[in-house]
Symmetry: C2
C-alpha cells in the first residue's frame, strides 16, 4: 500500500432547489462571471432562466460562452480563456455535463497564462500559473468532473484527445440536483453509467500488493449502485432516487477517494480516447464496447488476474461464490455484457458504428504512447490493436 494525500476541497450542494446558495458561492470571488454551457439544452429545460434569475438578483455581471461541444475542443478553451482575459472575469460558472466542465477548467487555467492553452497538453507540458475559481452546476452524471481536478480536451487538427489533472482545478463549489438530469436521454444516461462504471473498474483492477480492502469494498458498493439504478433511470427518467444515486456515484467514482494508496494505471480510458478522437463517438459508449474485451484479454494474457475478476463477479454481479474462479470470472464478464448491451441497450460493437480497422494500428500506437501501457496488465500496441479488433 502506498502513502497518499487526500485533499478534495469541493463543497457540494446536493438536492433540489439549492441554487439559492449560488450567489453566495460566487460572490466570494467577485461580480464578473463567465457563464459557460453547451448546445443550449439548459435553455430548453428552464435551467438557464433559473440561473440567470439568481445571477441577476445577486447583481453579477454575466458574460456567456455557449456551444461547448461534446468531446470539448481546444478552440472552445482558447475562446473562453481569451474572454476571461478580455473581460477581467472573476469566476467561471459552468452549467452542463463533463464536456462543459472540463473545457471550463482549462479556460480557468488558460486565463492565467500568455501562451496557447494547448501547450498545457503538448509534451513537454507547460505548468499551470494558477486558475480562476470555478463553480459548477451539473446536468449529466458521468465524468465526475464536478468533483475532480481533471479535464480532457480534444484537438481535431491532430486527432489528439488529452487529459490532465491538477489540484487547483477542483471546482470550489458544485451544485448537484438530480432533477437536472431528468431530461437526459436514455442513450446519454446509459453512456454516463458506462463511464462511471469504467472509472471504478479502472481503479478496482490494480496490480499492486496490499490494496485497502476498505476501498475495494467501497468500489464494489459504487459499482452495485450503478448496476442497480442505471436501468431504473432509463425506464423512469424522473425517478429521483435513481438519478440521485447515479449522480453522487459519478462524483465518488473519480474524485480521488477510491485511488487512495494506489498507483493509477488505467487501461480502457487511454484506448477509448483514441476511439473518440478518431471517430467522435460518445466516450461512455466507447468504454462500454472496450471493457468486456479488455477483461477477456487480461485473463488470457495473465491468468493470475482471474481471481480478481472472480471477486468482481461475486461482489458486484452476485455471481455464485462457490463457482471455480475461472468460471465465476467469465460469468462476471457475461453479466457486465448483459448489463451494458441489454439492460442499458448500448451498441455492442464498432462495426455497427461504421468503424473499421483502418486506423487501429495508429490508434494503438497513440494509446500506448509509442511504448507499453503500464496498466493492470501491461499492454503493447499489438495488444491494444487486438482489443480493438475484438470490438468489431
Amino acid at each position: 500500500m502506498k502513502n497518499f494525500v487526500y485533499n478534495i476541497p469541493t463543497k457540494v450542494y446536493f438536492g433540489k432547489d439549492q441554487l439559492c446558495h449560488l450567489a453566495e458561492s460566487l460572490s466570494v470571488y467577485g461580480k464578473r462571471v463567465l457563464l459557460t454551457y453547451g448546445g443550449g439544452s439548459i435553455k430548453k429545460v428552464g435551467l438557464y432562466d433559473t440561473v440567470m434569475k439568481e445571477l441577476n438578483a445577486g447583481g453579477f455581471q454575466v458574460f456567456e460562452l455557449s456551444g461547448i461541444e461534446p468531446n470539448p475542443r481546444i478552440d472552445s478553451v482558447r475562446k473562453g480563456a481569451q474572454l476571461c482575459k478580455d473581460e477581467n472575469i472573476d469566476v467561471i460558472l459552468a452549467v452542463g455535463g463533463g464536456s462543459t466542465l472540463d473545457a471550463s477548467k482549462w479556460m480557468a487555467a488558460g486565463a492565467c497564462v500568455d501562451h496557447d492553452p494547448w501547450d498545457f497538453f503538448q509534451s513537454p507540458r507547460k505548468p499551470l500559473n494558477g486558475a480562476l475559481p470555478l463553480v459548477t452546476i451539473l446536468t449529466l452524471s458521468a465524468t465526475g468532473s464536478e468533483m475532480d481536478g481533471g479535464g480532457v480536451i480534444s484537438n481535431p487538427e491532430t486527432n489528439d484527445k488529452m487529459g490532465r489533472m491538477e489540484d487547483i482545478l477542483y471546482p470550489r463549489v458544485s451544485f448537484l440536483d438530480p432533477c437536472n438530469t431528468f431530461t437526459v436521454s436514455p442513450y446519454q444516461t446509459a453512456c454516463g453509467a458506462a463511464d462511471i462504471l469504467s472509472h471504478i473498474i479502472e481503479e478496482y483492477f490494480n496490480a499492486e500488493e496490499g490494496n485497502l480492502f476498505m476501498i475495494d469494498s467501497i468500489m464494489e458498493a459504487l459499482m452495485k449502485t450503478v448496476v442497480k439504478y442505471a436501468p431504473i433511470a432509463l425506464a423512469q427518467p424522473d425517478n429521483y432516487e435513481a438519478r440521485a444515486n447515479l449522480m453522487w456515484a459519478s462524483s465518488w467514482a473519480i474524485n480521488g477517494f477510491i485511488k487512495a494508496g494506489k498507483t493509477t494505471a488505467w487501461s480502457c480510458h487511454p484506448m477509448e480516447h483514441q476511439l473518440s478522437a478518431y471517430y467522435d463517438i460518445t466516450h461512455g459508449l466507447g468504454l462500454a464496447i472496450l471493457t468486456p474485451r479488455w477483461m477477456k484479454h487480461c485473463m488470457k494474457a495473465l491468468p493470475e488476474t482471474t481471481q480478481k475478476f472472480a471477486e468482481f463477479a461475486v461482489n458486484v454481479f452476485d455471481v455464485d461464490k462457490n463457482l471455480p474462479a475461472a468460471e465465476a470470472a467469465l460469468a462476471g464478464v457475461a453479466a457486465l455484457e448483459k448489463f451494458l448491451f441489454e439492460d442499458l441497450k448500448l451498441t455492442s460493437n464498432l462495426t455497427d458504428l461504421n468503424i473499421g480497422r483502418e486506423h487501429f494500428a495508429d490508434m494503438a500506437q497513440k494509446a500506448v504512447e509509442g511504448g507499453t501501457m503500464k496498466a493492470y496488465v501491461a499492454l503493447s500496441s499489438d495488444d491494444v490493436a487486438d482489443i480493438y479488433e475484438a470490438c468489431l
Copy 2:
C-alpha cells in the same frame, strides 16, 4: 431523501513518514504552536521526539499542554484556551486519540471568546466566535475526530458529557500513520473498533424514506472492514494493512459523508455518554455493551425494523440471505455479539464492570434530555432504563 451539503475540508496525509509535511502544514498559520497530548505515551514510543524535531527544524515556538485525560474534561479545555490567549498561539497541534483531539478543538474555540468554554455546551449554547486552526497527528483509530468538526467534553462536577459539531472545528490537516497505532493495546484497539462500528450503525439504522442505496452500501463496506481487520489488529498489533484499514475507516465513519441525505438520529451514543459520564468507562466498551441490547429492543418495540436488521445481518455478517427476516435479523445480532465479546474479547455486561442499577433512572432521564429520544426507534426514559437493565 433530504438535501445535504457536503463539505469536508480536512487534508489528510496518510501513511508512513509523512511528518516531513508537518512544518509546511503549520507554518501557513504562524510560528507559535500549542502542542497538546495526553498521558505521555507519545514520549514512550518516540513520536514526541519525532514531532519536536520537525518543529524545531521548522523554527516554531512550541508551548505544551499535556495530561489531557480520556473522556477529556472541561478543565483541560479551560487550561488550553487560556494558554492560547496568554501565549498568542497561532495554531494548535494535537497529537493523540479522540480525547486529545476533541479537547483541542474546544481549546481552539475557547481561545476566541471571553466566556467559560463550558458555555458552549450549556443550554442555551453560546455561539462560536471563530476558532484557532487545528492540525492533528492521530494515534488511535476510533472517534473520527481527525476528520470531523465535533468534540465531546465531560464535566465531572455535574456528571455531564456533552458533544457538539461545528464546521469551523474540522482539522485543517491530519496526519494518519497506521504505524502510530501499532502500540495501541488490544483492549483499546477493540474499544476503538467498537466505536467506529457504532458510528456507522447509528447512521445505518435510520427511519427516513429514500436513503441513498449508494451510502448504505458504502456503510456496509465500512462495517465489513472493521469486522475483518479489528481481530487481525488484536492478534498482530503491527499488521500495517489491518491498522491502515481501521484508521481510514475511523475517519470515514463519522466525517459527514455517510450521513448524506439523512437526519441524524443516534441512539446508542446518547445512552453511552451517560454511562461514561457516571462511571468513566471507555466509550467504545460502553457502546459495545449497549448496541446488541438496543437492537433487540428496536425489533421488539417496532417489528417493522426487523427487515433492516436482516439486511445488516446478510450484508455485513454474511448471514444466509434465504433465511426469514426475523431469523436473519437475530442471527445478525448474534454475529455482532460474537464479534464484540468473543473476537474482540470485550466485557459483555455492566455487572462485570461493577456497575449496578442505582443511577439508571437518572441516566435515562439525561439520555433522553427529559423528553423522548427521536432516534431510529423513539426511546422514552423508560425504554432507555430497560436497555440499561438488559446490560446488567
